[in-house]
């Protein structure tokens, strides 16, 4: 078995907010600690460190992932965007503007995590309705707002992104609707799964 070189640290290559990084990191180094303490990017917050509050969400290859759960050995090749990097994405800009308009946050500590989660959602599904929004934000805790202002912010962001359709009104944006057909069908499937299937 000695031919197997198990390593405690490894050279890891990843992108962080568009910049290529090459680092030697411990296998169990947490992404959140790298982001905050190695790169000084303080928007990503540590509030539970067990993946239960979403304050540390970052985009990894476009998906919102808890930086407290992701470890050094999982980073190689990843494209990571923190809250500081969201301005590069149109959905990120729309989400941020809408959350400001609605004064969606109070203490603001959870804000970067919510903006990352919503950006990931709207990249996938610009027409996301409230059910999908709540599902996408299931892992984000906020203690100040009771979430209602954040839901309003998400609805305002959807409107800004062109998805003003509601479930009962047909969508004027055919192209967007087509692109998101799979999402709708998935939502339908989910709803079906909760009822008796047939």
């Amino acid at each position: 078995m000695n031919e197997i070189a198990a390593e405690a640290t490894a050279t890891t290559r990843f992108r962080l907010n568009g910049v290529e990084q090459v680092l030697r990191v411990a296998a169990d180094a947490r992404l959140i600690d790298l982001i905050r303490e190695r790169f000084g990017l303080m928007a990503t917050k540590a509030a539970c460190r067990i993946g239960r509050c979403g304050s540390c969400l970052v985009l990894v290859d476009g998906k919102a992932i808890n930086a407290c759960l992701m470890m050094g050995w999982q980073l190689d090749g990843a494209d990571i965007v923190t809250a500081e990097g969201l301005d590069a994405l149109p959905e990120g800009r729309a989400v941020r503007a809408a959350l400001m308009t609605e004064v969606a946050f109070q203490c603001g500590y959870c804000a970067p995590g919510f903006t990352v989660a919503l950006t990931a959602l709207f990249r996938r599904d610009p027409l996301a309705q409230e059910g999908a929004i709540r599902a996408a934000l299931a892992g984000n805790l906020c203690r100040c707002t009771g979430y209602l202002s954040i839901l309003r912010g998400a609805a305002t962001a959807r409107a800004a992104l062109g998805g003003q359709r509601t479930d009962s009104v047909s969508c004027p944006h055919d192209q967007a609707a087509k692109e998101n057909h799979h999402v709708d069908s998935r939502n339908r499937a989910r709803r079906r799964a909760q009822h008796s299937g047939d």
Binding site: D28, A46, R96, A135, D198
Partner: protein, 1062 residues
């Protein structure tokens, strides 16, 4: 309190099954397979040692991919992420049951990492019941060979670290089927599993059940395929299934454990009910549930008071953005715990891991000798008073001779980095001699109880009496007596306690730790450090949430001691568990209340016996006790009253200030009592309140003078006029829930009260950059005091809100305005602006007049500068910026004021003078299968004077409302023998977004018509949520819950038909 490892685990990326199995199975190695690794942090946080070697199996081809099998089934590689499964078109189309199950596992961010293999191989995953019901098989690499076996058999195998799960294989779904899945949790959103249940019925063309599979599992419930229940259904027609009999069979067969959250019988009952409800639909649910005849209250028509709805659409012309919102949303805001500077040390605190003990010895020598450690402090390093506390100083900064609760600090270390600090903590030897633990307030007051403090465990006892209660009971036609229990709620601010202390070159100290009253923190630190207050600068803002939990000192003292000893800046940021264990909580209360009224509903007598758990130290608990008793009759006039309140020291987690401050707990009991008596009398809850409410202009509960303005009758009208009463109530169309509407009133005092010093101060100054700095020694914790400052000062001075630069939370830059608590901030800001604003306005005009050679009377303060008062033009004659630039620094306008908070002169007890008022209405749905409550509507009608900042007002009411929802339905810190067992967000259940009401509205009656300006609404939102929810539950199912958080078990018992007794 996680211990950092000094040695990282080694990682091996397995290139073959054999290699992976050999490594993980090697008894000489502490190795384990790893894929998503999402459970690892959780296990380590719970105290498990991390493995020395991680064997990454995600690159193995045999564990990859999702592919349909020849037989029409599907093979899911074990390394497939749950999120991949959710996106898989075949699974979506053909196994929606599986997708629905996955959607209830963890949260989206976790599912991007977590794998199906990890979920199944742990044996506790929430997918297992569904996979069992789908008759899944698994492929396993075991002892050198790949084998296929039923999932159930795999789960029954003896654990073997070298056995590798390769894939889960699902057979095709039966051509015709009916399926069910339900994960029952501790709340609606992102919850650990209480129990999960799944069922699959295979149907023939005639809807006859060919086969049936039921399974449970998830979390602490062991996976179980329920053969007997399945066998019962075989051959039956769906239409004629005896659902009640099936429920009984399921309950009989399910094996489930009890824990601190839910009993075994609840798990069995809820799982069985859920399966039956999902499979059998409305008819089955009706078969399971009682159908009590409930007469649901409808209010008489009443005119709605002239409220506005507080929302952006309704108040678009008044809607302003708070000055810090942009930086917060962009993530640019540096919190005090984000502060870094060169040479900064990292601190850790050594804390007692035992609830009650004498300290025999503390040996810090090994820690001090550890390279990288800059300072270690213990009680012997304290030059001043080793005690603090806002009311009395009974809490040691560092324990010297005794610890009284888990988490009590005994020493602290500062080192070059966190890992070294953690190592040093592990090297500090504290020898304890354990003492008997006092873990219950009742037991604490029993004769012979071990003394938590030398003076005894009765921290405080307060009594009040009026009239003749004993004799008055004879005149009561109806009497209700009950005991109301309230939880030990966690503040749950997202930013845990922390910050930094810098020893400055001049010998002074800068303390940057989130707080709620910098001047008082400075006073307390000065006593401990024996250092003059003038040499301590305390920065307390901005902080990431307070809710009362940062009112008392947190980590300031050990941090300051370390910084002084090391001579270097030191920072600390508590991790969540350390914050939960050591932070103060809401005082749990046991309220025995006996209330009587005459035949017409007029309240005659009220007796209250209140027992409050103080925890190990007093902090603000004595004031909480007093405030609770101040609300013992709510806003109602009761001639005969007797109250007793006792506050007991225990070795439980320390309690203290928390939004509502005792009033919301007592309001829960009072409002329930009044509504329950209304039922007895046969009048509605609104009428009952109307005939008993204190009239405006009459004395307050204690006989004290109160502000002449009262808006409770208007709030009652608002409640009566609410459209919620007319929304659907009773059993829902699908029969899954029963819906009810409830209301409650609250009145929340503003300010610290009549016997506590309570003053405010403000300073307005034109800065050399031309900004109008409005300095208040208040704290911005998120509640929006900075927006209130902009609004109030702009209105008083005449400038625009954006001209104002709020300066808060810094003893060097702002005067002592008192604490940011007790809903007092809004009044303090408004009063300060009113007093200093006119003077400042005059100074601005005079300064401008001198430069412009115009009399000040001809000038007007406008948006951005000074304009001509004789025209209607907003054109500026001079901007603030130009004005400042042309004035000498010592002639820049500056105005200051200080004042007393409005008070009553009642001195026999602490009494409030000004109040804010609210009526809360909620509409809830009680799940008839599980007893869980979902809040559908939350309407809050308020009267707190003019709304200075609509967004802030709305936010405070909504945030308070949902925090109250958590208090009522899901939140409680659980302890076992003084040890907290719910120390992070995996077990402590604050509302998640799935728990937020479906709809919420906030209304405001702005006209208060008195001289006391706008009231604060920091606490108003939480004031009456609990009794409103209780009333709505009673409206739905006829049962009044008296224990909070409200137990789904109790509600389930109330709605279920009981099965035949075995």
């Amino acid at each position: 309190m996680s211990e950092h490892r000094s040695i990282s685990p080694h990682l091996l990326r397995a290139r073959s099954l054999q290699q992976a199995a050999d490594l993980a199975g090697d008894p000489g190695r502490d190795a384990r397979f790893i894929a998503g690794a999402t459970a690892l942090q959780l296990e380590c946080s719970r105290g498990a040692a991390p493995p020395a070697c991680l064997v990454d199996v995600t690159a193995l081809a045999d564990l990859a991919g999702i592919a349909e099998t020849e037989g029409g089934g599907i093979r899911i590689g074990a390394a497939s992420r749950l999120a991949e499964l959710e996106r898989n078109a075949v699974l979506l189309r053909r196994w929606p049951l599986l997708i629905g199950t996955i959607a209830a596992i963890a949260a989206p961010g976790v599912r991007e990492l977590a794998t199906i293999g990890g979920n199944v191989a742990t044996g506790t995953g929430c997918l297992i019941p569904t996979l069992l019901a789908l008759s899944a098989t698994v492929e396993v690499f075991d002892k050198g060979v790949a084998v296929s076996l039923p999932l159930r058999d795999y789960l029954g195998l003896r654990p073997d670290r070298g056995r590798l799960l390769m894939a889960v294989v699902l057979p095709p779904m039966p051509a015709r089927h009916r399926v069910a899945h339900r994960k029952i949790g501790l709340r609606w959103g992102f919850t650990p599993s209480v129990i999960g249940a799944a069922g699959v019925l295979a149907l023939d063309a005639d809807d006859r059940i060919g086969d049936a599979w039921f399974a449970v599992g998830g979390g602490t419930t062991a996976p179980q395929l329920l053969d007997r229940a399945g066998a019962i259904l075989r051959g039956q027609y769906v239409e004629t299934v005896d659902w009640l009999a099936l429920r009984e069979a399921l309950v009989d067969e399910i094996e489930a454990p009890s824990d601190r959250h839910r009993s075994a019988s609840y798990r069995k009952m809820a799982a069985a009910n859920a399966l039956v409800a999902e499979l059998g639909g409305a008819a089955a649910i009706e078969a399971l549930c009682k159908a009590p005849a409930i007469k649901r209250f409808m209010p008489a028509a009443v005119a709605r008071p002239a409220e506005i709805e507080v929302s952006r659409p309704a108040l678009s012309d008044r809607w302003r953005l708070r000055p810090d919102i942009k930086d917060k949303v962009l993530g640019r805001l540096r919190y005090l715990t984000d502060h870094r500077q060169p040479d900064m040390l990292v601190a850790r605190i050594v804390r007692a891991d035992i609830p009650h003990a004498r300290i025999v010895s503390i040996d810090v020598s090994a820690a001090e000798a550890l390279p990288g450690v800059a300072a270690v402090v213990a009680a012997s390093d304290i030059k001043g008073l080793n005690g603090y506390g806002i009311v009395l100083q009974d809490q040691p900064a560092l324990c010297a001779d005794k610890v009284r609760c888990v988490g009590d600090p005994v020493a602290a270390v500062a080192a070059v980095d966190d890992a070294t600090a953690a190592q040093a903590v592990a090297l500090i030897r504290v020898e304890y001699e354990a003492l008997a633990v006092v873990d219950d307030p009742e037991a604490a007051l029993a004769p012979g109880a071990p003394a938590v403090h030398a003076a005894g465990n009765l921290q405080r006892e307060l009594r009040f009496a009026r009239g003749s209660v004993d004799e008055a009971w004879n005149r009561c036609a109806h009497v209700i007596e009950d005991v109301y229990i309230t939880p030990r709620q966690l503040h749950g601010f997202m930013e845990t306690e922390g910050g930094y202390v810098v020893p400055e070159a001049d010998g002074s100290l800068t303390v940057g730790v989130g707080g709620q009253h910098g001047a008082r923190d400075r006073l307390q630190l000065s006593r401990i450090l024996a250092m003059p207050q003038e040499r301590i600068r305390v920065i307390t803002s901005l902080t990431g949430g307070g809710f009362g939990g940062k009112d008392e000192l947190t980590v300031q003292a050990p941090l300051a001691l370390l910084a002084l000893k090391a001579g270097k800046p030191v920072r600390i940021h508590l991790d969540r568990a350390e914050s939960v264990v050591t932070g103060r909580k809401r005082n749990p209360m046991r309220i025995r209340m006996r209330t009587g009224c005459d035949a017409a509903g007029r309240l005659v007598a009220q007796e209250v016996d209140l027992l409050v758990d103080c925890g190990a130290y007093a902090s603000l608990s004595p004031s909480v006790l007093e405030t609770a008793l101040e609300h013992a009759c709510g806003p109602y006039e009761i001639a005969n009253v007797r109250t007793r309140g006792r506050l007991a020291y225990t070795n439980n987690s320390i309690c203290g200030a928390f939004r509502g401050f005792g009033a919301n707990q007592m309001s829960y009991a009072v409002e329930c009592q009044v509504a329950r008596l209304a039922d007895r009398v046969g009048i509605g809850p609104i009428e009952m309140r109307r005939i008993n409410m204190r009239k405006p202009g009459t004395p307050g509960y204690l006989g004290q003078e109160v502000a002449p303005t009262d808006r409770l009758f208007e709030m009652l009208d608002a409640a009566g006029a609410s459209d919620l009463w007319g929304k659907p109530r009773g059993p829902s169309d699908d029969r899954r829930t029963v819906v009810g509407v409830g209301m409650a009133l609250s009145h929340q005092g503003n300010g610290l009260g009549s016997v506590v010093p309570d003053s405010g101060a403000a300073e307005l100054a034109l800065s050399s950059a031309g900004r109008i700095e409005a300095a208040y020694g208040l704290d911005e914790m998120g509640q929006g005091v900075v927006a209130i400052i902009q609004a109030a000062v702009a209105a008083a001075v005449g400038c625009d809100r954006d001209d104002i630069e709020p300066v808060v939370g810094d003893t060097a830059r702002a005067p002592d305005s008192g604490s940011t608590s007790a809903s007092r901030g809004t009044y303090v800001v408004w009063k300060g602006a009113s007093l200093a604003g006119a003077d400042f306005n005059r100074q601005l005009r005079e300064a401008a007049g001198k430069l412009l050679r115009r009399p000040a009377e001809e000038l007007r303060v406008a948006h951005g500068g000074i304009s001509d008062a004789r025209t209607n033009s907003d054109d500026l004659l001079i901007s603030f910026r130009d004005l400042a630039a042309r004035l000498a620094p010592d002639s820049l306008p500056r105005a200051a004021c200080s004042f007393e908070f409005p008070k009553t002169d009642y001195r026999a007890g602490n009494a409030r003078f000004i109040f804010a008022f609210a009526a809360t209405l909620v509409r809830v749905a009680v799940d008839r299968a599980t007893g869980q409550v979902r809040v559908l509507d939350l309407d809050q009608h308020t009267a707190a004077g003019p709304v200075l900042d609509p967004a802030g007002y709305l936010g405070q009411m909504e945030g308070g409302g949902v925090q109250g929802l958590g208090f009522t339905l899901s939140e409680d810190i659980l302890l076992e023998q003084g040890r907290i067992v719910t120390d992070n967000f995996d077990s402590y259940m604050m509302p998640a977004i799935g728990d937020a009401p479906e709809r919420a509205r906030v209304f405001a009656l702005e006209d208060l018509d008195d001289a006391f300006g706008p009231r604060g609404v920091g606490e108003l939102g939480i004031g009456s949520v609990t009794p409103a929810i209780a009333a709505a539950i009673a409206d739905a199912i006829g049962y009044w819950p008296t224990v909070t958080p409200i137990s789904p078990e109790a509600l389930l018992a109330a709605v279920s038909k009981l099965g035949p007794t075995p």
